[in-house]
């Protein structure tokens, strides 16, 4: 099995899986019907992308594991998503700030992944770019609406951006699998996305009349499987059926 490629795919897909699950929690609970449907639609796009990645990973694994096994049957330490995407839906400003900080990265990442020598990853990227462009517009729009909105909405959005800022730097950390895949022309060198990322993020924050956080202290660990306390609760819900009824099928 191509272990590095397998790990590399999980590194991409876990972000979408965990963020998709977070957004899915809003099904029927969004602040308005329209935002509820938007969040769950974005969730659906992310899950669709995850399926393509995990199907490919399962094929590479070459044993009997399936896309569902990869999604459902790992322990907390085996998920390698960034800490940003597992942060809870504290309020709508927080949900949109998390989405925005991820979407800007996600689109930049996919635009590079599209150039991958691996044709399957490149095809998934091409497909996903079309969907993620809409996500980026949606979340960017809400940053501006709430940031440049009322006193209350501005305070909440500023609070959300300040709170989540500490998780942004991890997006640009390289894992061993990253380095190996970059060397083979398959992976994306995320360190090169950092400058453009902050430039784009800062532009929208300025337009939203929000302060750009100055904190230089950043959290990390998700990519190595060291998560915040929130992931465990998320997985408890995600994996509930498989734990209650092992190997159950619909």
């Amino acid at each position: 099995m191509k272990q590095n490629l397998y790990n590399y795919i999980l590194g991409i897909a876990d972000n979408s899986l965990i963020l998709g699950q977070r957004l899915g929690e809003l099904t029927g609970h969004g602040p308005s019907l329209e935002t509820d449907i938007a969040c769950t639609n974005i969730s659906l796009d992310l899950f669709g992308q995850v399926r393509s990645y995990f199907q490919y990973a399962a094929k590479i694994a070459g044993d009997n594991r399936t896309e569902d096994d990869i999604a459902m049957l790992r322990k907390e330490r085996e998920y390698v998503n960034v800490l940003l995407v597992e942060q809870p839906n504290r309020d709508f400003a927080y949900t949109m700030a998390r989405q925005f900080l991820f979407d800007i990265y996600h689109l930049l990442f996919l635009q590079e992944l599209e150039k991958s020598k691996d044709l399957t990853l490149s095809a998934i990227a091409t497909k996903s770019i079309k969907e993620v462009s809409y996500h980026e517009r949606f979340s960017g729009d809400w940053i501006k609406r709430l940031g440049d909105g009322t006193e209350v909405s501005k305070a909440k959005m500023q609070d959300a951006i300040d709170g989540l800022w500490t998780y942004t730097d991890e997006l640009f950390h390289q894992t061993e699998a990253d380095k190996a895949m970059v060397a083979e022309g398959i992976g994306v060198d995320v360190t090169k996305l950092k400058e453009t990322y902050y430039k784009k993020v800062n532009e929208i924050l300025e337009e939203a009349t929000l302060e750009i956080p100055e904190s230089k202290w950043f959290q990390k660990g998700g990519k190595e499987g060291i998560h915040t306390e929130h992931l465990g609760y998320l997985l408890a819900e995600l994996q509930y059926m498989q734990r209650a009824y092992p190997n159950m099928e619909w």
């Binding site: 899915g24 329209e34 639609n41 669709g48 490919y56 999604a71 490149s122 998934i124 079309k130 099928e249």
Partner: protein
């Protein structure tokens, strides 16, 4: 048109039996192919419609990329409109059923490249959408104008007025946005441009 497809999908991702029910989803071969459909098969495939938009055949939707008869088995390649489109499972099943009724065994394969675009919806398909109450996709530039800049150019499917406004960038399915006409007050879906 189903109001919400999301909850169905949440059940789906927990499912372990998709592989049994939809074996074609397991083998994703993402190779590039031109559209290549055997003439004899066209009338059969035209009977299959998108379960979300029953008036629209999958042929007019442009999701069938190839269908050829190879030693008595019809090999069909379909491509999803959106990655998470839950309709693909049903479409795959429906194609199998339609071909079986016509006396063919078939194998269905889901391909990702080249990625689907709204340009592949045929003229007849666009008309079917409009008749059904879904505004057909504009070109990429105009699409940006209506979804981001709030321009009023999408034609109301009820009265034809362009005095329409965006209600939500996301609609009842991933491929649509919600609009409302400010003349006749009709709420309607707009099929987003995907390029």
């Amino acid at each position: 048109m189903s109001l919400r497809v999301i909850p169905i999908f949440f059940i789906g991702i927990v499912s372990r039996s998709n592989k049994a029910r939809f074996p074609f989803l397991r083998e994703m071969n993402m190779t590039t192919t031109e559209q290549n459909i055997d003439q004899i098969l066209i009338p059969i495939l035209e009977q299959v419609s998108d379960p979300e938009i029953p008036v629209l055949s999958i042929m007019d939707m442009g999701v069938v990329r190839s269908a050829v008869i190879e030693s008595n088995i019809v090999k069909v390649e379909i491509t999803p409109t959106y990655s998470g489109c839950p309709a693909m499972d049903v479409i795959g099943d429906d194609i199998k059923a339609a071909l079986k009724a016509a006396g063919y065994h078939s194998e269905i394969e889901l391909i990702l490249a080249p990625a689907w675009t709204t340009d592949w919806i045929t003229l007849r398909g666009r008309k079917a959408l409009e008749d059904y109450g879904i505004a057909a996709p504009l070109d990429a530039e105009a699409d940006k104008d209506v979804l981001l800049e709030g321009k009023r150019i999408v034609k109301c499917t009820n009265c034809g007025s362009q005095n329409t406004r965006l209600v939500s960038q996301f609609g009842s399915t991933a491929c649509k946005a919600q609009f409302q006409c400010d003349d006749c007050q009709e709420p309607f879906d707009y099929f987003k441009c995907l390029k």
